[in-house]
Symmetry: C2
Subunit: 151 residues, 2 copies
């Protein structure tokens, strides 16, 4: 019989907090659980809007600070952005991005080939300590292509 993923993840999250000497608060738990369910690249504002629905007393500041804290301890990532608004990535597994230059959307995609790209000589010659890599393909997403056709 399988264990509920919700419980499992909550336990892991609390362990992660303890490891980083962070207190487990209702707000942090709520934010974490919100993130687990999402596969977007939400802004702090977006996360806040989703959470206030079930936690009406939470403040935007707490959400924003918590997201920054989570990013610091590696529970989430921040995503490279062209828009000026910081966005977060809840998927820590290696993956890559399709970036629509028209609407700014970022869509994940996976490709084991790309995950294991040999690091080029240039990296080592720069004495850069590589931790991760991501391929970003820029172009026009399907939605934007379709609306372009209609014009």
């Amino acid at each position: 019989m399988e264990k509920k993923t919700g419980e499992l993840q909550t336990e892991q999250f609390m362990k992660r907090c303890r490891e980083n000497r962070l207190k487990v608060t209702p707000q942090r738990l709520a934010i974490y659980q919100e993130l687990v369910g999402s596969s977007e690249h939400p802004s702090a504002d977006r996360v806040y809007r989703n959470i206030v629905r079930t936690n009406p007393t939470i403040s935007f500041d707490t959400v924003n600070r918590t997201l920054l804290t989570f990013a610091e301890i590696g529970v989430i990532d921040t995503v490279e952005s062209h828009s000026g608004v910081r966005r977060f990535d809840t998927d820590l597994a290696p993956h890559h991005h399709l970036h629509c230059v028209q609407c700014g959307s970022i869509t994940d995609f996976s490709d084991p080939m790309l995950d294991t790209l040999p690091l080029p000589e240039a990296v080592n010659s720069n004495r850069f300590q590589a931790l991760g890599r991501r391929v970003i393909i820029s172009g026009i997403c399907e939605t934007c292509r379709q609306s372009a056709r209609k014009e």
Copy 2:
């Protein structure tokens, strides 16, 4: 005898402006020439600070608007950023980025292998029209590694 690159680039720039029905103004020329000389990923503020030294009457707004205009007509690019401040890329040739997660610096590197990566199946199945690709390697830059050692 070689032609001075400065003249050449200025001519090309003016041609580019005409093609896009943009007027060639002293401010735009100054900004363009400032960009040509730089190999960084400057913010609007950074470009402005450099330019006011020789053009004391130029305004920040003009610099900022001009950079956005240049990005629109493809004279420069905007760079993916983690910092919230928009930064520009004056190198339009295919290249890739080393991103230091500690200090936020972005360093260019070239690798013909990476420029010609086969586009994965996932891209086509998403019906995404790919225009360009960039590999972003995140890690710790040499400077940050050295200062970490001293602590």
